[in-house]
């Protein structure tokens, strides 16, 4: 019995390690790993046009009042953060005056489009609309 328990404990331990490794591997993901799809970014572009472009410009180049969503200053703000920080910023504070009125899925699409116009590559899976999961994707400026 004792052996069985030990074995179970060992197996559980190994499984736990495996999960930790998997989480560790997830931690390694970054915006360079194809974290959104082309189709999602295209949906995001249409939304961005209506909800964001008026102030930030059609490709996020910024206006006199609204900051650019591309370029050095923008990159510097998010470098070392996670995609969740960007997603949550969009979700909770934008568009000004209509905060929180876009759905989580719409915010994910817009965030995908922002990653696209910042020239991060698309991939096979869509960007999640769950902030907790987006915390696993690092915003890394340099590849």
């Amino acid at each position: 019995m004792r052996h069985v328990t030990t074995r179970v404990a060992l197996i559980a331990g190994i499984a736990g390690l495996g999960m930790l490794c998997a989480l560790g591997a997830q931690d390694m993901r970054s915006v360079w790993d194809g974290v959104y799809t082309e189709a999602q970014a295209a949906r995001g572009a249409a939304l961005f046009d209506k909800a964001c472009a008026q102030c930030h410009g059609p490709s996020g180049e910024g206006g006199g009042m609204a900051p650019a969503l591309v370029g050095e200053t923008f990159s510097a703000n998010y470098a070392g953060q996670t995609v969740a920080d960007l997603f949550d910023r969009n979700r909770t504070t934008m568009p000004v005056g209509r905060e929180g009125q876009l759905s989580a899925a719409q915010n994910a699409d817009i965030t995908a489009f922002m990653l696209q116009f910042n020239k991060f590559p698309p991939g096979e899976t869509e960007l999640s609309n769950q902030s907790m999961l987006l915390r696993q994707i690092k915003y890394v400026v340099e590849r």
């Binding site: 008026q54 490709s59 050095e72 200053t73 510097a76 703000n77 960007l86």
Partner: protein, 718 residues
């Protein structure tokens, strides 16, 4: 005493009484006009736009020892946190007054401890939601009768002029209606009624007008500016017409109005050709103003007319678009004007407070007004006559080939002082870190209309050109953050963006929505568009721009287009990306120029530059500096994470004489609002607004450690 002596004594006594009365009348009754006594009673310190304080407790020897005295996080001042706090506090008699939060709340704090004294905010509902100028704004104004009546003045997001009792934050019941004046009343726009153009009242909720800037208080007069939505991507030819109004500081009664687009019969009306005055709007004054109280003149920096980058619907020079206008303080009548850009097509609207400067030039005392600009020039005039101090020469400029556009053949080029930031891309300023990078950059530039001068017009993308190379329009040079001037030395200082380069174009798709044939004769304002403000209403589409800015390439997580393709995300323009410049106004020459801000991470870490020794590049972006007796103080416009300190930005001090950086203190985020300084109970403080990205806004107050503060002397300074 003989009769004669008695008479003489009486005359002397009477004269003395009169002198005392005059002194009280001039200095005792009025709001403190400047920073001489350690206060900061106006947005710019004084009403001349100086942003100068003679304080010197914080100086080159101790700047590095500054500590955080206290901070004010503004998250809970509105319904959601703010990330773009642009405010500069006022400090009067030991109390700080500032705006903050997404509802533009007014906050009063103890200037020594940061303890809250009162808060005021107004929920304006739909009217604020639809406002063109939102968030907390740049700050407040102050008025006093000198006898204990002290009032804080501001403009709400929904464009109401509000007066509060400075002691308790309660509205002044005798001002306007219950403490406020509805600034939307009296604002007009052009409307075709039964086939005839009329100027009619804008709707009070949807009508597009507001301001982020602070009213200017000169004696007992409050002057209020006007701003609309940004016009670069605007589809509608009509909008509210710009205006500046003056109000009685005691009652809120309107004293005068100056229409920035002169009506029929007025000087300048004929500069709006083909009847374009009827429908065109904007042309407001969206930034800070300045005044010469002695001369009784107010200086108005006027912005662009409707649709910034295309003038086919507004042919003509378009006065007073993009002009500096001096008006009479008592009547609002125009005294002189100078149009800085004719028939503007570049968003070169006048972005910053004019600065009043008294200097001796060639042995003659002169009264100057300088107008900082996005295009790198400080346009300098005799402020009484409007004559340029140094020649400003009309020169031929490249012409537009966009259908329906009648670009102006010439534009004014100042000859002095030299530009403080780039206003075109010179061949020598193209990236040259390596020969390969330079070659690629020059190849990219072949796809653009690139002429080595400012004022090159936009193009519609075609096989010939993808866009026009512009430096300094929209986000170049100086913006609302403005500049500063030391009245004791005659030196002007400014931070400026030196690398705002774009491949500017109007896409065919966008052009189709703004071309004159589309609007004639039914010009309308946005709030008249079918379904406006209804669910599903699309704000003016901007999708047309995308085609021009979408070509693949660039990379490096910093966006990219045909202009930056193959450059590894590095700017196509050489450093310095951002600068601080000192101009000697006695000679119209540059005293020094230094890069401002750490080298951005993206440049410092670029794999293409590995192993190279890149000198400090400075940073792109625009931030406002202020001056103490000996320092220029300004924060970084960007966050960086160099190896020697935590991720953040620095508040830096430069020596005014040499430009040498003499100290820096760490901040958790970039500077978002102009810093100021004051002294209370013998201790000097600096306050700066920071925020942006994922960091919500806050004001941070810095001061020296107690051990650095000199022991109080008999005359305590407040």
């Amino acid at each position: 005493m003989s009769r004669t002596k008695l008479r003489l004594a009486m005359v002397v006594a009477l004269f003395a009484c009169f002198a005392v009365w005059m002194a009280v009348g001039v200095s005792g009754q009025r709001a403190p006009s400047g920073t001489q006594n350690g206060e900061w009673p106006n947005y710019s310190g004084d009403i001349k736009g100086s942003r100068y304080s003679p304080l010197d407790q914080i100086n080159a020897s101790n700047f590095n020892r500054l500590e955080v005295a206290w901070r004010l996080k503004t998250d809970n001042l509105g319904p959601r946190p703010e990330y773009k706090l642009e405010g500069t506090p006022l400090m009067i008699k030991g109390t700080l007054y500032m705006t903050g939060g997404t509802r533009r709340a007014v906050v009063a704090l103890d200037a020594k401890t940061g303890e809250q004294k009162w808060v005021y905010s107004l929920d304006e509902g739909k009217r604020a939601e639809m406002a063109p100028r939102v968030l907390s704004g740049r700050g407040l104004s102050y008025w006093t009768d000198g006898k204990g009546d002290e009032r804080i003045i501001y403009v709400t997001i929904g464009y109401r002029l509000v007066q509060l009792n400075a002691r308790n934050g309660q509205p002044i019941p005798t001002f306007g209606k219950a403490g406020m004046v509805d600034l939307k009343e009296g604002v007009v726009y052009g409307k075709l009624v039964n086939g005839k153009w009329q100027q009619v009242q804008i709707p009070l909720v949807e009508g597009e007008i507001g301001t982020n800037s602070t009213p200017l208080v000169v004696g007992d007069t409050i002057i209020v500016q006007s701003a609309m939505a940004e016009g670069l991507r605007y589809e509608y030819t009509n909008n509210a017409k710009g205006l500046v109004r003056a109000y009685d500081a005691r009652t809120g009664k309107q004293l005068w109005r100056f229409d920035t687009m002169p009506g029929p019969g007025e000087f300048g009306h004929d500069t709006w050709e083909n009847g374009s005055w009827n429908w065109t709007g904007n042309t407001g004054v969206w930034t800070e103003m300045a005044a010469d109280a002695e001369a009784g003149l107010v200086y108005l920096p006027v912005e662009s007319p409707t649709i910034d980058a295309y003038g086919g619907n507004r042919p003509g020079a378009g006065l007073f678009g993009e002009s500096l206008v001096a008006v009479d303080l008592k009547t609002g009548k125009r005294k002189w004007h100078f149009q800085i850009v004719h028939h503007g097509l570049w968003d070169y609207d006048l972005p910053a407070s004019p600065i009043l400067m008294d200097v001796t030039i060639d042995g003659k005392p002169r009264k100057l007004v300088g107008q900082p600009s996005k295009q790198g020039w400080l346009y300098t005039f005799d402020r009484l006559t409007g004559e340029p101090i140094w020649p400003i020469v009309e020169q031929p400029v490249p012409q537009s080939d966009i259908p329906g556009e009648k670009s102006w053949p010439t534009q004014p080029f100042p000859t002095k002082p030299p530009t403080y930031s780039r206003n075109y891309l010179a061949k020598d300023d193209v990236i040259d870190f390596t020969p390969a990078l330079r070659a690629k950059a020059l190849e990219n530039l072949k796809k653009y209309r690139w002429e080595e001068m400012p004022f090159v017009p936009y193009v519609i993308p075609s096989e010939k050109w993808l866009g026009t190379i512009l430096v300094g329009n929209t986000m170049g040079g100086v913006n609302w953050e403005g500049s500063a001037y030391n009245p004791e030395t005659g030196i002007f200082y400014t931070q400026a963006n030196n690398s705002a380069i774009s491949g500017a174009s109007l896409s065919q798709e966008y052009f189709e929505t703004i071309k004159p044939e589309k609007h004639t004769p039914n010009h309308i304002a946005i709030w008249e568009a079918p379904g406006f403000a209804q669910p599903g209403f699309e704000a003016p589409s901007t999708s047309g721009y995308r085609a021009a800015t979408q070509p693949a390439g660039g990379g490096g997580g910093r966006g990219g287009n045909a202009l930056t393709e193959g450059l590894g995300g590095l700017p196509i323009i050489k450093p310095p990306y951002g600068v601080i410049t000192a101009l000697d106004m006695r000679t119209g020459t540059m005293k020094w120029q230094v890069p401002h801000g750490d080298t951005p991470d993206a440049v410092r870490n670029s794999p293409l530059l590995k192993g190279m020794n890149i000198p400090k590049t400075g940073q792109q972006g625009i931030v406002g500096a202020f001056l103490t007796k000996s320092l220029v103080i300004v924060g970084d416009p960007q966050v960086t994470a160099p190896p020697d300190r935590p991720r953040g930005a620095m508040l830096r001090a430069y020596h005014q004489e040499t430009g040498k950086e003499v100290g820096a203190v760490w901040m958790p985020a970039a500077q978002s609002g102009n810093p100021m300084t004051y002294m209370v109970d013998g201790r000097q403080y600096i306050i700066v607004a920071v925020g942006g990205g994922v960091y919500t806004s806050e004001y941070i107050a810095f001061t020296l450690p107690q051990s650095d503060i000199p022991k109080p002397t008999t005359s305590s300074q407040r």
